[in-house]
Symmetry: D2
Subunit: 129 residues, 4 copies
């Protein structure tokens, strides 16, 4: 595994290409519609959540190697379906992600939100106002 | 936008690095725990689904430019939180995704499942057996 | 089963009471926090969706007895966790549901939305305007 | 509101009937297919989760009146779609829930699991074994 291409050397297009080939070889484009893929991402996200369902937020930071391996597989499923949706919609993920991050940078200026999760802050203050 | 780095030239590590910087500049690592991030991915996946909630599977293929732009933003949110989770867990996404795809290739041999979604087939046949 | 209490004779409070007893006998109130229960409902909702993931909207209407039994179990899980959350929050579900339905009745006047799902209509029209 | 029918006096059938009337008056049965309703439940579950996304498990117990009101509305949406799905599938919810609880009672004997969430325990022990 140590010589497999890693995040330093792998482009988004390479991963997208592998997913596209996997789907095409099985003739599964007919099932990989945007509606079905959005459900698939949500289903895999729930399988990921299942690992943390009863843990405290803090304990979710301390995972053993077996838990980490299983969690990695669930995250991989989410990413695979996300790449397939990008393929289906003809979206460039790098540009789409960068555009959304630029929007988030303007929405949450670092000097204003530092150390405060917006919702968290909002909840703390909201019923006192 | 046309000159922004695209999927052909952007590595996973570059995107991961941008997300890590965004989180660190806001001191948000304290909120970006695995439990909270798994919820965040699921929440964004639901926002993506909302665009397809009442559409037929077929109609979800025919999206106008405005719908497509909004859907791209939801997908970007899913990818951003997935990258943040990979950062938090110290996971190499390319290797994790590749390992999961190798598993899927063995689980669903192309010549056996061609044109048949497993669940789909399973449902069609299951109550007749 | 035919003599078990049915929807005609069972009140919300009776179901809430059974769930509360189940949780208390296991000393599980400590895990049944609002945050964890919201995750639990989402996880069970995803298990329900999994049955329909690759089906057309139309085919999801034609389910065999075995599929229907499994789907009933997933729906039961969603309802059980929803009742537990109502217990934890001290919410009267009948009043909460009725209040939300009154709001929906005002928001979607029957004569205006008849036969048109709001999102569906919105999507059809939105990119032409 | 204090005289509105409450959980003590409202049967499941009464709530199901109101939801069925709401849907029929808008001619929305065509959209309320099992597939679409499963997505709708998951979408509403995510909107519920959003209120707890950045809170600690413990803080999610201490909600102000405004937060509680909003959370009640999200829970109502989940219940409304669940009732609509029961209507669509012709399921008796009381019997389905009772059957699932009987199964859970056998699966998690009170004397064996008392004070231990199964997943929680499983995680704590799993990498040491």
């Amino acid at each position: 595994m140590s010589q497999a291409p890693d995040d330093q050397s792998t482009t988004l297009q390479e991963l997208k290409g592998r997913v596209a080939a996997f789907v095409a070889e099985r003739d599964w484009q007919q099932f990989h519609t945007p509606k079905n893929l959005s459900m698939s991402i949500a289903i895999e996200a729930a399988e990921l959540m299942e690992h943390f369902q009863w843990l405290s937020v803090e304990d979710s930071r301390n995972l053993g190697p077996q838990a980490l391996a299983e969690i990695g597989e669930e995250l991989a499923d989410i990413v695979i379906y996300s790449l397939s949706l990008a393929n289906t919609l003809g979206l460039d993920l790098s540009q789409t992600v960068q555009a959304k991050m630029d929007k988030n940078i303007r929405k949450y200026p670092a000097d204003r939100v530092k150390g405060k999760a917006h919702k968290y802050t909002w909840y703390e203050g909201k019923d006192e106002g």
